[in-house]
């Protein structure tokens, strides 16, 4: 019994237990709580590529337009996004759903790279800038059965890969990158034309867009290309435009290719045995290990002795590969990720795993994926952490600072990063909440 004159003192165990028993229990998350999938965007926002209209046209007068979003910002989407791609000032988001709307686009639409977006003010005109993720109508034969597997964006064109209806292309076709014949003086803005490509030797499993060319990888392991070829990036043996997807030969003839990558004017391909093949632009020493010429128009095997390669990422001036052991090797020109002194290298240099969080304390951290933007690199670890490095063009690295990053730096994302897509000045990541 406490009288008025007795001091409180630290609560005894008995008092604690009494209070404990009487308190109500709150539940915030049940046992079956699922992890939500979210999309985070960051980078330059005035093109509308981030999909947040409040950054370009604020909804309240006291708010100022945000030119750059320096840290990851959550984007609300209606469906779970399974694939995303960043082009030059525009973004495509695709979902694996069976609903009618499967692909959303935002950003620049001056060449109809996001399809025809009907303007609400004038029904005959289309939007030049799309500020919000808007559905892209695809001319599917069976819209409630076909699923969209992957999307890819280039400078002014985009590719959508479906599971049973081939590849849909839209956007600029002045170099034949959409896979159809080049029409002289064609006006690409406000165009309703979406071309469908079905003639390949087997089902297409990966589509990749370079700056003005497109690459298609089929299930059999062959690679097709179309588009601009002045740097040899189509790999067809000539430097002209190709307007129909044509099969590549050279060193990859007969080789089962499991991954293709391209961002600027160069291309890299990885075979199932772990060999790397490259073609296209070599002005920045990307292919200097096999040739001295600056343009290579036939795929060449790159004899690197770094182990079995799992994934390759081809950037504008620098390339990165990921080996089976989880090490990242970089070469080329620019900020490669090994400090300000290494600006160019013709042979792959390994980035020390301690920069990705590996230490004696946590020795099982490994890099799981590498991605390239035009002058940035991104690496995902098996713990779901995102590391970026390279030129910080208009805040695209997402570190919160405007300076270039010379070695891998963590990006704080509230969740486990599953995939990331790099564009020229913005990035999109698919994240799973905790």
């Amino acid at each position: 019994r406490r009288g008025l004159g007795v001091a409180a003192g630290p609560p005894s165990t008995r008092q604690l237990r009494e209070v404990d028993g009487a308190a109500p229990v709150f539940q915030y998350a049940g046992k079956a709580a699922k992890r939500k999938d979210r999309v985070f965007v960051w980078g330059f926002s005035y093109s509308g590529a981030l999909g947040v209209p409040g950054f370009v046209k604020p909804d309240a007068s006291w708010k100022k337009p945000r030119r750059i979003q320096p840290t990851p910002y959550r984007l609300e989407t209606e469906e779970k996004i399974s694939s995303a791609a960043c082009g030059y000032g525009f973004t495509l988001l695709a979902s694996n759903t069976r609903d009618i709307t499967k692909v959303w686009g935002m950003g620049l639409n001056k060449d109809s790279q996001l399809g025809f977006q009907r303007s609400r003010r004038d029904r005959t005109k289309g939007y030049e800038y799309v500020l919000e993720p808007s559905p892209i109508p695809l001319p599917l034969e069976k819209p409630q059965q076909t699923r969209v597997l992957q999307v890819s964006c280039g400078r002014a064109h985009s590719l959508v890969l479906t599971d049973s209806e081939g590849v849909f292309t839209m956007g600029n076709n002045s170099y034949g990158q959409c896979g159809r014949k080049v029409v002289e003086d064609e006006i690409y803005s406000e165009s309703h034309l979406i071309h469908q490509l079905k003639e390949f030797d087997s089902r297409v499993v990966q589509v990749v867009c370079g700056q003005d060319h497109s690459l298609f990888r089929t299930k059999k392991g062959t690679v097709y290309a179309c588009g601009w070829g002045a740097d040899g990036q189509t790999g067809l043996g000539h430097y002209n435009i190709t307007s129909v997807p044509t099969k590549l030969h050279g060193d990859i003839a007969g080789v089962n290719i499991i991954q293709v990558s391209s961002c600027g004017d160069g291309c890299l391909a990885v075979s199932d045995e772990g060999d790397v093949f490259g073609w296209g632009n070599s002005e920045y020493l990307q292919l200097a290990s096999v040739t001295d010429t600056t343009q290579v128009n036939v795929p060449r095997h790159l004899p690197f002795k770094i182990g079995k390669v799992k994934e390759a990422a081809c950037g504008g001036t620098g390339n990165a590969v990921l080996t089976e052991e989880g090490n990242v090797f970089v070469w080329g020109y620019g900020i490669l990720g090994k400090g300000p002194n290494l600006t160019e290298s013709a042979v792959p240099e390994m980035i020390p795993p301690s920069l990705f969080g590996w230490s004696n304390f946590s020795p099982d951290i490994r890099v799981a994926h590498v991605r390239c933007g035009l002058s940035q690199f991104a690496a995902l670890t098996n713990r779901g952490e995102l590391f970026v490095w390279g030129k910080n063009l208009r805040g695209c690295l997402g570190t919160g600072r405007m300076e270039d990053q010379y070695f891998p730096w963590r990006v704080t994302v509230p969740g486990e990063v599953v995939d990331v897509a790099c564009g020229v000045d913005h990035m999109v990541s698919m994240v799973r909440s905790f």
């Binding site: 604690l16 709150f26 301690s354 969080g357 730096w409």
Partner: protein, 260 residues
Amino acid sequence: LNALPGRAPRQSIRFLPTPAPDGSGAVELVATRVPVLADHPLVRGPRFRKLKIGAGHRLDVKASGVFVLGIGHGNKLLTDLYNCHLTKVYTVGGLFGKATDDFSDTGNLVEKTTFDHITREKLERILAVIQGTNQKALLMYSNIDMKTQEAYELAVEGLIRPMGKSPPIITAVRCLQFALPEFQLEIHCLHETQQYLRKMVHEIGLELKSSAVCTQVRRTRDGVFTVDDALPRMRWNLQSIQEAIRNCQLKVETELEKTL
């Protein structure tokens, strides 16, 4: 300490008048070695009356573990050790399901929540994120220009550390034990307080959509001093203290030379 044989009293040479050995009455001055009276133990008093003891990094009342003390001239080494900015290792025990106002289990209860949805993988994911953000803070507060080659090399070796004042930074976290509702973490940190660690446990609980309180904070390492060097209650006597000082001297010197 005072019972130990002190140094012998100083001897000085004085010229003392002694009667001449031949008994003639003349007084001669002979030099003899005589103990100086001022040095006599009865005059001087006990050798040690006060001891200067300084404390190393603070340890809470509710926490336990290694606590470094400096005695006498060792206090100067204490400031040097502080400037080394070495990491400390704590074993922190927590309990899910409760939230209190001072984040420990003896505070006033604020809320009770369910915790059966928490698994070890979720906890480890949260710990990975904590480590990641603190790693960034480590690089940012170390005041090194990120654009230099030097910064890159230090980052590769993992030697970048803030060498000045900084908010608490956690360099590594690991889950030692996990048995709902209890869990135990090993935390390596810099410039922290024990209350910050308890707050960290509370925040981990919030992040896992539940709540947590801290039941135990124990410092297992403070720079170079580990639990093995520390003296338990039974051994707080003169001989053990002297032995411990002797054993640690070499370690402390090497560490100071390495860092400064």
